[in-house]
């Protein structure tokens, strides 16, 4: 991983919710800064204490520099700089619309459209797409040596690899665009009613779905003109090419449980399928394999401790974690057996307390990069 991070420009961390993506992204970003890269972590929703520890303000969607004082705790001074940025989908989407609208009036009308309001916040894939959009924007500025992306925590994050194509479909060749545009372009909105009534398919659909939804959609695409759509389309392709570049590394993050591991595998397949550079699996919060407690140890505990009950509790507690460790190990073995044997699998142990400050983040470096500063 050490070599990878030295040459990488973009590191994207993928995985299902609750596996610690945000924390790991922060740890990787911190490492980047420590080895001298100007680094930014593009994150979604860090735990409050971690955000506080990094001096991040919650409601701020600008690039924020992590103050030097945060590194005092570890007694290190990063050779590079560390920035963080929180992602707000709506905010990014609005910017995109402003950029590609032919006039401020048009942008304003799009913002007010009810369908846009839905599209920009709730449509499946929007979050993922906007994360990519922001990533691309940051990459283009050439301000940073390394961008670490913490992808949105949802199963839909799997869509983000297809996001450029999806958006292309949405804006490019879809039904409304090709069929309805000439009618709307005439500028007479009354046409759409006539149109709906004329086609039996559309008529049935409008009956079932209610006409209002279709009108909102139609309005949205009426507002969004050719240059807007083209802008989107070329942007999508550019993003895809950035993601496929050899300077990008995808990491699949999981906890040692079956469901998130299957998710991580899904990511792995998806990344391979798209010919994108895969950097390995990070298995977070692994309960280590404990040596089996022997009968002599057991007797020794009983002989040493006066309280029979306490001795039993200690042994029982140990055996529980022995079992847990074994189950983690088995899952990781399974993962190894179904992926490429040369696959990198980084294991991060389960820590006693939550990782919520810079010192704790540094602890992770030992397992990711084989070094601690």
């Amino acid at each position: 991983m050490k070599n990878k991070i030295q040459t990488a420009k973009i590191i994207a961390c993928c995985g299902s919710g609750g596996v610690g993506k945000t924390t790991l992204s922060a740890a990787i970003g911190l490492y980047g800064a420590l080895i001298g890269k100007k680094t930014i972590v593009l994150t979604i929703d860090p735990a409050k204490r971690l955000a506080d520890a990094l001096g991040l303000k919650a409601i701020n969607y600008e690039e924020q520099c992590i103050p030097d004082s945060c590194f005092d705790a570890i007694g290190l001074k990063p050779k590079g700089e560390l920035f963080a940025m929180m992602l707000d989908t709506r905010h990014v989407f609005d910017r995109v619309v402003s950029t590609y609208s032919s006039s401020p009036e048009m942008a304003e009308r799009i913002f007010k459209n009810r369908y846009y309001q839905y599209l920009s916040t709730s449509l499946a894939g929007t979050h993922e797409y906007m994360a990519m959009e922001k990533l691309y924007e940051l990459n283009e500025t050439n301000k940073y040596d390394l961008i670490v992306l913490d992808t949105p925590p949802s199963r839909r994050a799997l869509d983000f690899l297809d996001a450029p194509e999806r958006l292309n479909d949405l804006f490019g060749r879809h039904f409304f665009w090709n069929l309805l545009k000439p009618y709307f372009k005439a500028g007479k909105l009354g046409y759409r009613m006539i149109y709906f009534v004329a086609s039996p398919v559309l008529r049935s659909i409008s009956k079932i779905f209610g006409i209002q939804a279709l009108n909102d959609l139609a309005d949205f695409f009426y507002l969004a003109d050719e240059s807007f759509i083209d802008g989107f389309r070329s942007r999508s392709l550019a993003i895809k090419s950035v993601l496929s570049s050899p300077q990008t590394v995808f990491l699949a993050i999981s906890s040692p449980m079956r469901a998130p591991m299957l998710e991580a595998l899904y990511f792995y397949d998806k990344i391979k399928e798209n010919n994108m550079p895969f950097g390995g699996f990070i298995i977070n919060r692994v309960h280590k394999t404990l040596e089996k407690i022997s009968d002599t140890d057991r007797d020794a505990i009983h002989a040493w401790i006066s309280s029979e009950v306490l001795a039993k509790k200690i042994i029982q507690n140990y055996q529980r974690f022995e079992r847990l460790g074994a189950s983690c190990n088995q899952l990781i073995d399974n993962l190894l057996s179904i992926t490429d044997p040369t696959m990198h699998i980084y294991q991060i142990p389960f820590f006693e307390s939550d990782v919520h400050d810079v010192a704790h983040l540094c602890q992770l470096h030992e397992y990711l990069f084989n070094t601690d500063f």
Partner: protein, 316 residues
């Protein structure tokens, strides 16, 4: 009112807290209370199937165990059925289902997938056997992780606003009435005693009562370590560890004692988060703590302690 006296349990929570585990455990517990249960999985995951060591659930209910049924909802196929039902002319229905605009509307209409999902749940709720008793006594819905759980439940308002008229709106109203009826539907929250999940759980509780009008009636705090060690145990263990460090022949025992110590530490940390949940307990909210399962390969056997805890809570 007992959680098992509802018709519908909506299981919500952040990803990775064990919603599926809790859903299955609730199903197994209800079954032992002589109920016929339907477990519903929403979305593409096949986590329920995994616990029962079988492949993913089909799109029509199947019996997993006596009195325990399972199904996976696929919004798109529900919508196709729905169209066929509502468009009288089969040829037009077929054209709609095949058309690109149909694909597009599914992807783009706010809450359409969700309303189809909820509508299907409602139909199962209405299902009657030949002698006119409900087919399922209890329906348990393993909802998507909180963010999406909210959008699933939020949809009645959104959709009614967007569509205004039409058969889908009518259906949505009926579903909405079922969801906001606290005697029928129990919003069931799952969390684990850690920082982010607890914060998110507390946020959800506010949204549930204020925006969704579906206040959380049951909260399960999952993965709670057993509280084996007393204060005096802790003191003894600490002094034992000191002794181990001093005496060479005891060195071999160090890992056992260190582990006991860290378990005590972790348990205390968990307690602070558990306390946070109790501090904000609402009037009609039951809080149940569920034990940590010491295996990451979950099976029906492994989650039995959770079932026991649910039943115990029921009888107390």
């Amino acid at each position: 009112m007992s959680i098992f006296d509802h018709r519908l349990l909506f299981i919500v929570g952040k990803g990775g807290v064990g919603k599926t585990t809790v859903s299955v455990a609730l199903g197994l517990a209800a079954k032992r209370l002589n109920k016929t249960v339907l477990l519903i999985e929403v979305g593409d995951a096949d986590a329920i199937g995994q616990i029962f060591d079988r492949k993913s659930l089909p799109e029509h209910p199947i019996q997993i165990q006596p009195d325990l049924w399972g199904v996976r909802i696929n919004a798109k196929s529900v919508l196709q059925e729905y169209i066929k039902l509502h468009v009288n002319i089969p040829f037009i229905a077929a054209r709609i289902v095949k058309s690109k605009i149909f694909e597009y509307i599914i992807a783009a209409t706010p809450g359409l997938k969700e309303v189809m999902t909820l509508g299907q749940i409602w139909r199962w709720e209405q299902n009657k056997t030949f002698d006119n008793v409900p087919h399922f006594d209890l329906i348990i819905v393993d909802a998507p992780a909180t963010g999406h759980g909210v959008s699933l439940l939020m949809l009645p308002q959104t959709l009614i606003n967007m569509l205004i008229v039409g058969p889908i709106v009518e259906q949505t109203r009926v579903v909405h009435n079922l969801l906001i009826d606290p005697d029928k539907t129990c919003t069931t929250l799952v969390t684990i005693p850690e920082e982010l999940p607890v914060n998110e759980a507390l946020e959800f509780k506010t949204i549930a009562s204020q925006q969704l009008k579906m206040p959380v009636q049951a909260t399960f705090i999952n993965s709670v370590y057993p509280n084996d060690f007393s204060e005096s145990d802790e003191e003894k263990i600490n002094s034992n560890i000191q002794e181990i460090c001093e005496k060479k022949h005891l060195k071999k025992l160090k890992p056992m004692f260190e582990l006991a110590k860290s378990t005590i530490f972790r348990r205390k940390l968990q307690q602070t988060y558990i306390d946070m949940m109790y501090a904000q307990q609402q009037k009609h909210e039951t809080i149940v703590e569920l034990p940590f399962v010491f295996s990451h390969r979950l099976s029906v056997k492994e989650i039995e302690p959770l079932v026991q805890m649910m039943l115990k809570n029921e009888s107390s």
